[in-house]
């Protein structure tokens, strides 16, 4: 037992070639926003390249990492000023940890945690603050973060770069805190930020911001170490996961979540239904509002930032799935369908939705309205069941907004390319532009073992069309539980899909990174190419397997035969051939004297 409460090992240290830095918006020097800077070779003659950074304190060598103490409280001062009520909190019960016996019990995380709750009549959620016209520190933080710390937009550059097609999104060339507030107030974006998660480095999810990605983690059947579970989080955010969902089941679920939350700088999402099901011994028909409500409060007090709530699976929708090729494939959807059919009653989540809102508002837990009827095959995409549920989600979105809650909507699943746009458009129209959060979608069903790729195609496209956050898919999808390498592959694959979407949408700063890496590639700055990429380790390893190490060298297009020659505008006119060839000979001689290379070293 003692071993488990000692500082445990997780992956720490800077990402190779990079350093974690902090920058504050000029108006708020007290708000330190983290970034990652890639250091370039001196021959590049470029400043360090700044990147969005999700890796938290773990990549900052100046910080001491101790899982028992938890991550730094980024939001402490902001939350204090809001005057929420400290409450004793719900006592942990044996069923919260699956009745784990004393010797099997993972101890709770000893990091300090003061449970807070919002008051009636005073704003609690980011949505409520936004509606009241109040710009929170979280809004200031994410604005600076989205801008990569640029104080002013490089207007000329952004105009040149932002040549994308945004399909109705309104991506500003510079993100102001006021813009963030307005987007949240309109329901078009959320900052998942439970008031009981002071360790959070806030981030924003909305189609007018950078496309984000989520990684799922979950405990193993038998968990011996909390550090092992925290490492899954640390590993996922090191590679770029913007949020992490803890889909753990079984024993120790409460205490492991505690370790994760106390050490997480990113929003943590959960599916409370999974834990509720554990509490009733795994029998869906035994679920009821009481056990669900208790689980919501338990997790909200711990600091979970968003809950997947499958309230859109209504009794009347279930028969719509009868003729499907793959029926109901969402775990939450199946649980609720089973409950509805066992009782032949309307879903208790749907019937108690208003009370769910009241609970979630008090802690600012954001809704992630689950798509329990998402298609599990291309054949079932965009069918009556899926769209019936989506209509219900739209209805629930408005209810949640009325209650002051932040909302995003989960989406499919398996969708062939030609049906992706329709899916996105339907979501925007039905759910009042609440952020869409999709799993993939997988664009074909025929590649088990490669579904990170079948889904990256769909993810990049739906991200382009307007999805705000992409839930990753690993190579093990449909086949088994992802291991460490699978998690990394899934995260990197989704980072590249999200970035491809940002580029296509015309995000004003997205192409800066592509251009920086392309310059490095053209100039044979190998280390810069590796370090500017999404996975320097793999790129370096691949390179070293076959290509010899080359010295750094710079090369530019032959300036002699470049732009000047261009103006000569060689014509096709044969009559001018001879005269032209005289000039040609001179150029030819000069080219050959210069070494005869089309790219020559710059002085």
């Amino acid at each position: 037992m003692t071993a488990q409460t000692e500082p445990a090992k997780v992956t720490t240290g800077p990402i190779p070639g990079s350093r974690r830095v902090y920058a504050a918006p000029p108006e708020r020097p007290d708000i330190a926003v983290p970034f990652r800077e890639v250091l370039l070779h001196p021959s590049a003659n470029e400043p360090p390249f700044r990147l969005y950074d999700t890796s938290g304190p773990y990549t900052d060598p100046a910080l001491r990492i101790d899982l028992n103490e938890g991550a730094p409280w980024t939001r402490a001062a902001w939350l204090v000023r809001r005057g929420f009520a400290s409450v004793p909190g719900r006592a942990v019960r044996p069923e919260d940890n699956g009745f784990a016996s004393a010797e099997m019990l993972v101890p709770p995380c000893p990091a300090p945690h003061d449970v807070q709750m919002g008051r009636e009549g005073a704003p609690v959620t980011q949505y409520e603050f936004a509606r009241a016209g109040i710009v929170t520190e979280e809004m200031i933080y994410v604005a600076h973060r989205e801008n990569l710390g640029r104080v002013q937009a490089a207007e000329g550059a952004s105009e040149r770069l932002a040549d994308g097609e945004s399909f109705g999104a309104s991506i500003p060339s510079f993100v102001t805190p006021e813009f963030v507030r307005a987007e949240i107030a309109a329901g078009c974006a959320i900052i998942p930020a439970n008031i009981n998660h002071p360790e959070l480095e806030p981030m924003i999810i909305g189609r007018n911001f950078l496309v984000k990605i989520n990684a799922n983690i979950g405990n193993s059947a038998v968990t011996s170490s909390a550090a092992e579970e925290v490492e899954k989080l640390v590993w996922a955010i090191r590679w770029g996961a913007d949020t992490v969902m803890d889909l753990s089941t079984g024993r120790n679920i409460h205490n492991i979540r505690d370790w994760i939350l106390r050490n997480s700088p990113v929003p943590i999402g959960t599916v409370p239904l999974y834990q509720a099901l554990e509490k009733v011994g795994g029998d869906a028909s035994k679920l009821d509002w009481e056990v669900f409500r208790d689980t919501l409060i338990e997790q909200a007090e711990q600091g979970v930032d968003y809950f997947t709530i499958h309230a859109g699976v209504r009794l009347a929708h279930i028969p719509l799935t009868a003729d499907r090729v793959t029926g109901i494939v969402s775990r939450g959807g199946s649980i609720m369908a089973q409950w509805c059919l066992a009782h032949h009653r309307e879903s208790f989540l749907y019937e108690h939705f208003s009370e769910i809102c009241d609970i979630m508002r008090k802690y600012d837990v954001s809704f992630s309205l689950g798509d329990g009827l998402r298609p599990g095959s291309n054949a079932d995409a965009n069918d009556a069941a899926q769209f019936a549920e989506l209509e219900t989600l739209g209805e629930l979105t408005r209810l949640a907004w009325d209650k002051g809650c932040q909302v995003m909507i989960e989406g499919p699943g398996h969708v062939p390319m030609h049906k992706i746009k329709a899916n996105m458009d339907k979501q925007l129209a039905t759910c009042g532009e609440a952020p869409f959060y999709t799993l993939g979608p997988l664009t074909t069903d025929i590649a088990p073992g490669y579904d990170h790729i079948t889904s990256a195609i769909g993810a990049a496209m739906i991200g382009w069309f307007g999805t705000a956050m992409l839930c990753y898919v690993t190579p093990k999808e449909h086949l088994g539980l992802p291991n460490r390498e699978d998690v990394k592959t899934g995260v990197i694959t989704y980072k590249l899909a999200a970035h491809a979407a940002d580029l296509a949408k015309g995000h004003p700063a997205a192409r800066l990174r592509d251009d920086a890496i392309s310059r490095a590639r053209f100039e044979f700055r190998w280390e810069d190419q590796f370090n500017l990429g999404l996975d320097a380790d793999t790129a370096r390893d691949f390179h070293d397997q076959t290509l010899p190490k080359e010295a750094h060298k710079t090369a530019h297009f032959c300036s002699m035969c470049g732009p000047k020659f261009c103006s000569m505008k060689i014509s096709q006119d044969i009559r001018e051939k001879v005269r032209r060839e005289e000039g040609m000979c001179e150029m030819s001689a000069a080219f050959n004297e210069g070494g005869g290379k089309i790219y020559v070293a710059t002085p």
Copy 2:
């Protein structure tokens, strides 16, 4: 030396769970078209699932594989009837094999090879036959192949399945030989099929047919065994490569190509410029028409099915690349740019294009008009240089058609998602709908080590928009030489991208495979799911790593609570609540008596 002429080892044997079968079109029982059939579990109650098969004789256990004898002559009888002239052929010269010394020389392949040449005034190429209204055996073969041996289209099914968006493509529900002929005559499709490649199992490339993929192979710096090189081919087609490009350089290039061609059931493409450059000692400025012409004839006589010809890189285009972020990245483009600049003359490929056509027509070598100025970064996509070259390619396409040649057009490269459609549309308009053959495109530059994925996104999209063949990209792109695993990963990735495109285009039979695998998934027929996928080995391995073996079982949606219940149309009317609940209770009791599961075993 003796060791090298002995039968060498390549990967043979059936793909697990499958068998190679042959089927003939009813009107031509002499034409045996190969397919692969996946055998399903008896509980599926489905016939074997038929797939397109590129793997050649190597997966047929009934055939004896001997690389010294070469692959079976599928086309022998067809070619004989066309009465081409047998010619002595060009003698092999020391420079053809890079002046390899006796002890380093890979011996020529001893398989029989009779060099043939078309006659003036009589049709040679598939294009000429098509224009003359003649349906060749190759056309019959590919029609049956594209239909997966279906004699009649399942019209009801194809209507239901073909719900794609084809962007102007005209994909028939059933492919007839006459349709193939008409497509080739219109220049919209090609059958790369050198008359000196009798071993070929013909295939078609065109946007109204299944999207195809190409894998690149190339010899290592020091090659000790021809079998090693043939194995690269066999390995690539085992996983689904439709054509293979041999990009070898250095020593033994002629003899290795001979081994490849004599043992290849798929079209082989090359870039003759690479070998021509070897012949002049690697100095681009020393290239001339004579050495290039000689190389064309050398390779055409060997049986190469398509040549990449970089005739679109004109002197006047080169300055257009001066301001690019990544200049000229195509190897062929760089060679030609260097030649043009060294001499300050128009490209000799462009000036001699008509003679190139005359040579290629005589053997029916198809053109793959190279995009020497393709963008090497997102920044350079769809720029003046790329489009200027494309205009030239359109001009050359018409010239080649006038000369009776088959033509396809190579395309980029690096293109962000929002510029892909414009690229495709421009190609269709500029090149008279000649088939487009694209490398990727990569949709972002920031993921070295993962460019099979950045490019699969672009490949799937451009395939959907109309690209006929996708050139694969491996994880080693930009970094090093692909190994065996990389080749497999590249091929599988591109197979899934091509299939996603077929689905989205509304190919009438494409979804049959997705549905078959989805049924297997839903019914927990694990082996069927693996075997119907693109890579059964990896899927099985992933599954066995974490999930327990489950017995086969069939399960269907609860028929009791399914469609019948659906008709009850639960209303929201509260006044009817009590009456309705009576019926509900009955349903509930029946559901619970049945085991309380939403999916139950079928009798």
